[in-house]
Amino acid sequence: MKTNKILNTSNDLRWQIGEGFHDKLTEGIYSDAATIAQNSVHKKGDAKRFRFDRSLDKIVTSKIWGFPIMILILSVVLWLTIIGANYPSGLLADLLIGEIYPWLKGIGESLGFSWWLSGFLFDGVYLALAWVIAVMLPPMAIFFPLFTLLEDFGYLPRVAFNLDHLLKKSGAHGKQALTMSMGFGCNAAGVIATRIIDSPRERLIAIITNNFSLCNGRWPTQILIASIFIGALVPENFAGAVSTLAVIAIALLGIFFTFIVSLFLSKTMLKGEVSSFTLELPPYRPPRFWKTIYTSLIDRTLIVLWRACIFAAPAGAVIWLISNVSIGDSNIANWMILHMDGFGLLLGLNGVILLAYIVAIPANEIVIPTILMLTVMSAAITGVGEGNGVMFELESVPATGDILKAGGWTLLTAINLMLFSLLHNPCSTTIYTIYKETKSVKWTTIASILPIILGFTVCFIVTQVWRILA
């Protein structure tokens, strides 16, 4: 056969060429390219610009200034995001929950919807959607453009360059510093960002550990719980500082777990994956402001938001249904809370928290409203809340604290909730994104299960030690 003959000849030839074949080919291409470039490209004197680049590089990668500059920039970005998002979030909540929600319910009433249809559609599906949009959109719309601007300017590769040695020690890639920081904004976006890591092993490590970066959806939970329970431990003047420190400690603990888990993965499950490191440090350039804003909104914010919405709608329906459908003499939610309470208490949490984390898988943002609703319902508190299955949040922090305390919360519960909020399964948007990126059920499962095992273990140990000491 002709093809066989050709194949055999090619095999013979390959045998004769030897192993340096690819090297020689590349060398040939480069020398040809160099000749062509030399003959046709004329350089203008851009030496001055280059010198500016170098002096800036010397500062941002210097021994003394390299790390402080990085920490400063990340703190400023996070601060802008958390503080800056409050106002637009409030506006959106007013509009979506304060204005449109009653209006929709009014329409339902005028069309003669029965209570369960209006409850299912508006209290369940719509409210969950509205909540996710109101609390998720503004922080992402601030965080991602800021991040993309830094990327466009050329600063981010320098961060990877500075941190590579630290990350390498746990078997990870320098660029994981970037995906980790991106994870502080949103884990799903962080997982997408791991595309910049070209080495398969390090990329998987970055994907699996991204969940340990405390994301935007969890910062408000941490801040709220810390200010209710931990700030209250000290005199009022220090309350703010102490609760801030507690939240930062949780974020740092997340980074610590990133390192530990990376090390564990690279020594066990990911041992044989290919590993390599190269990083191009591009020249600095003025960021293209509007283009950056546009692409970061379209590519990151809207895609992530869209995925979150797709998952939030059914979750809203589920939350409403379990609170309103009864088996025997109690509704499903109460029944589940009752049965999970034992396990929850073992971990220093309670049944409400566990149920909230199960139904609020789509978005961490709706955990607190769900917990409040479930607490009011299961502890039969009167005078607050909007009814079974209707999520709510209170303007006043002490009032929120009162509800939680009435639901049996102690300082230990609060600490464990903060820990569990850091160490639990990624939200469904992230899980879906992990699957999209890895195309592997195995790694998606590991990425989802591993943090929750860690969370159970850490909460369990903290609780038992606390009970021994108390």
Binding site: F161, E273, E280
Partner: protein, 345 residues
Amino acid sequence: MTNPVTLLIIFGIVLVLLFILFYPKTGFYWRLQQSYKTDPKILIEDILKKLYHAEDNGTKLSSDHIINSLNSSPKKILETISEMEDKELIRFKKGEIKLSETGMDYALRIIRVHRLWEKYLSEKTGFHKKDWHEIAEKMEHKLDSQQTKQLAINLGNPRFDPHGDPIPTETGEVEQLNGKPLPKFKEGAIGRIIHIEDEPEIIYKQILAEDLHIGSHIHIIEKNKKRIVFHSEGEEFILAPIVANNITISELKKEDISEKDTFRLSNLKEHEHAKIIGISRECRGEIRRRLLDLGFVMNTKIEVDLTSPMRNPRAYLVRDTSIAIRNEQAKFILIEKIKIHAETN
């Protein structure tokens, strides 16, 4: 509520149990898996390999030698040996065991799979060098001839495994290495490392720790009964003769010596200029292609651009582009330092 101390103790016990069961390699679960696999085929193949290596080295093997060197019960080994004689894989000759022609063919097939698999591990996976041998030891018993053929084609029909051993061809031909062990050379000799033996493991680990590369040129400086000192790629190495014995060198003639002032890129200091000579053969697979694609090719000028706060990685200026690589990779890139006078102003 249950007593927290009891709970913690139960938790601790569960943890310890899991640890004992699943600890990598030595865990009970893995051992149980392993013990199922002492089937006669593996033993036959291991004995064939022993015999082949012995004949290759010119040493003689008796049944006692085989019993001592394999991890199986003497009774089983003796049974297997007589079974092999029945199948005409081996012959006895004055108490010494020899491979028959079929036995030789069989042994070469196993060695072919072993070396191909090592090549595969080095090119396509991220397993560390020290793990290659052990993994290949397991795989050599698993692949059939069709799979082996496919593997060889996917790897581009390689001629040598990553240690420099020739891979037997499908028809059972083996190329001969034309080199001698390092201690056989005199002071002043110049040669190229063509093979590093990966057995026994204790010695191989010492060679690995020295960070010697296959393909690099060496220059023997001092040789006596206690130690051998030689230079390679701008660094000095000192080895005990017993360790050096596992390194095979092919001597270079004067006209072949082109790499006199070769250094590793990791040795380049700031403000020094250099020219790339090539990439060491020890740098393989993905990372090698990546370096080539980024422009780390012969005759390219290179200098240090930036050093990160922790001194690793460093960024190098290659064709007007700043590219950061770790020192662990930079040491695979061979350079020749050059002096530039014109640019001092």
